[in-house]
């Protein structure tokens, strides 16, 4: 697991649901085919209404027209991030677009679990809301070991909640590697 993550922030509001993260009509692409799955990068966050896309101003494309990767590495969200569907396409599309960490006030359970068990990115939580503190495009530095996120652009630092139980899985990589370490799966499977 990467201990320090740096990059530009993309800021979203509360209750960002999986239909906004990846609209259902896009769920037809293969997640197993390396070339076809790049489509998920192209359509990541394409369901977010324009005024809410990249706060505070809105109207920031997460992925530029025709691209399959985002210029942003970190998403900052509010409460209940990833609510709705169990579609693993949601955390997968963010990873495919280049997201390395999501920092939210809280998560919906299945999205959080999928992010961890599939090893897509590190889902971090903050003790206070950050969506009014950080602007889309701000440069952030996340230090997992120190448990902080620094807004390099605004020179401000905020604490992160400890990762707790899921740290072991994130460090292992996915639920499969974790299960091998825990003796649930044979090491050579």
């Amino acid at each position: 697991m990467q201990k320090v993550i740096e990059g530009k922030a993309y800021v979203l509001g509360n209750n960002i649901d999986t239909d906004q993260i990846i609209p259902a009509e896009r769920l037809v692409y293969s997640l197993s085919d390396p070339e076809e799955k790049k489509n998920y990068g192209r359509y990541a966050l394409s369901g977010v209404p324009a005024p809410a896309a990249g706060l505070p101003d809105g109207n920031h494309a997460f992925v530029k027209e025709g691209d399959r990767r985002s210029e942003y590495a970190i998403i900052v969200g509010g409460k209940n991030f990833g609510c709705g569907s169990s579609r693993e396409h949601a955390p997968a599309c963010l990873q495919i677009a280049g997201i390395q960490a999501v920092i939210a006030e809280s998560y919906a359970r299945i999205f959080y679990r999928n992010s961890v068990d599939g090893g897509f990115f590190i889902p971090l939580e903050t003790t206070t809301p950050l969506i009014d503190e950080i602007r889309t495009g701000d440069r952030l530095s996340v230090d997992i070991g120190a448990g902080t996120v620094t807004n390099v652009s605004a020179k401000r630092q905020y604490p992160l909640k400890p990762l707790g139980d899921v740290l072991e899985i994130l460090e292992a990589g996915t639920i499969f590697e974790y299960a091998k370490k825990a003796g649930m799966l044979p090491k050579d499977s």
Binding site: S32, I110, D117
Partner: protein
């Protein structure tokens, strides 16, 4: 300290040792369900992790129910169905309800119940967030992603954090114009879309006990819209009568202990409930129907795992019989069995199917259809700025297709009453 129903089921599947909320346990899985949207990705991970010649842990415990993108010409969606077919053939899976065959069922959550895969006391995981529906049968059921599902396919196990339980009790008798959909929208409005996050929503009280299995499924179905991990209702005679007609497999009925610990309890007076809607764009954006009375609508949609069961259509038909709808009205039975029942069930000598046709409604084949938008050619999908009243479960921006459309979630009674006027209408005007 005693255990709640959910804790007891998880305990029984984690080697029998006592469990408490917050414990992480590995549980043995009784049923894994997947469908056409998440099955192909699950199969891909299973093969990568366990090898291309790997076999599933137990063929009898895997259920595959294509239901999402069935009636579309989208080539990727067609290809995904082929991936399921190849896998079923390769693994020799007995429970595959394939599209385009006589074995096709329709929406997985109702098909699981109708085909006898829901059994009290069992642990069922599904690659769909509405898998919590099965909790209506006194079992533990919840939605998971492809990675977790692939892990189960190979091992028959999954780690679970034992949830705290919230208890919602309804006593007395619901008025005749109130449906389970009104109750779940009321409760989600009360607790918010994250009010039950990481928790179980357990339903009880004598008013809930009077609900049919279909209505109980509606209650449990939308637990996820409150953030719930699972929902559960203790099995009773209504449950067992339903289950015994559909499976010979044995099962265990668990009950909450008297001294079980609940993190939250709320008691409602069933007789005081009012018809409610969830306004755009969130399932907790609750309002009484009478507060929205008169909002102009473009269409009414009655279908999905939430609102496309036979009880939902009986309710709608009661209002639509002998009348004509004023707006585009879409009728989508959740499963083939429900579709067949639309021909068999009659009100005043007329089949429900005829009632809907005569009222001018559009009838679609059983599937998830426009509940989640889907490919462009999906039946009932919104394409522009439509204002919709719908018996489905989510009204997030773009959920039914177009980001510009607005969706009001409501009961089948309210959706039918509103279809007759073209405006949001309290069903009491027609009952």
């Amino acid at each position: 300290m005693g255990m709640t129903l959910t804790e007891k089921i998880l305990s029984a599947h984690a080697g029998g040792k006592s469990v408490r909320p917050g414990d992480n346990v590995w549980v043995d899985v009784d049923v894994l369900m997947t469908h056409d949207v998440c099955g192909p990705g699950t199969i891909g991970i299973f093969k990568r992790q366990f090898g291309k010649n790997a076999r599933v842990w137990d063929r009898e415990k895997v259920v595959i129910i294509p239901d999402h993108y069935i009636f579309t010409s989208d080539p990727h969606a067609r290809r995904n169905l082929e991936i399921l077919r190849d896998f079923v053939k390769e693994q020799g899976l007995p429970y595959f309800y394939d599209a385009g065959t006589r074995n096709y069922k329709g929406v997985c959550h109702l098909a699981l119940a109708q085909e006898g895969h829901n059994r009290p006391g069992e642990v069922l995981f599904g690659t769909d967030s509405h898998t919590c529906t099965s909790g209506a049968f006194g079992m533990f059921s919840t939605g998971i992603g492809n990675t977790d599902a692939a892990f189960i396919l190979g091992t028959g196990k999954l780690w679970v954090k034992v949830p705290e339980t919230m208890y919602f009790e309804f006593n007395g008798t619901f008025p005749p114009y109130i449906m389970a959909k009104d109750i779940i929208l009321q409760v989600i409005g009360d607790i918010g879309v994250d009010g039950a996050t990481y928790r179980t929503m357990e339903w009880g009280g004598d008013a809930i006990a009077k609900f049919s299995m279909e209505e109980r499924m509606t209650l449990c179905n939308m637990a996820i819209e409150g953030g719930g991990k699972n929902a559960v209702i203790e099995a009773d005679d209504t449950t067992l009568n339903y289950v015994r007609r559909r499976t010979q497999k044995p099962y265990t009925v668990h009950r909450s202990d008297k001294d079980a610990n609940y993190c939250f309890k709320k008691v409602y007076n069933a007789g005081a409930m009012e018809p409610v809607v969830a306004k755009p764009h969130s399932p907790d954006n609750k309002a009484l129907v009478k507060e929205c009375q008169g909002v102009r609508l473009d269409r009414s949609y009655i279908g999905s795992c939430t609102g496309g069961k036979i009880t939902d259509f009986k309710a709608a038909a009661q209002l639509l019989k002998g009348k004509t709808v004023k707006i585009d009205t879409f009728i989508v039975p959740a499963t083939k069995e429900v579709e067949d029942d639309l021909h068999k069930e009659k009100i005043g000598g007329q089949s429900l199917m005829d009632i809907f046709k005569n009222a001018g409604a559009h009838l679609g084949p059983p599937s998830c259809a426009a509940c989640l938008g889907g490919p462009q050619d999906t039946f009932g999908r919104t394409q522009a700025e439509e204002v919709v009243i719908s018996t489905t479960n989510r009204n997030f921006p773009g959920r039914m297709g177009s980001k510009k459309s607005q969706v009001y979630l409501a009961s089948p009674y309210t959706a039918a009453a509103s279809a007759l006027t073209g405006r949001i209408t309290d069903p009491r005007e027609f009952l």
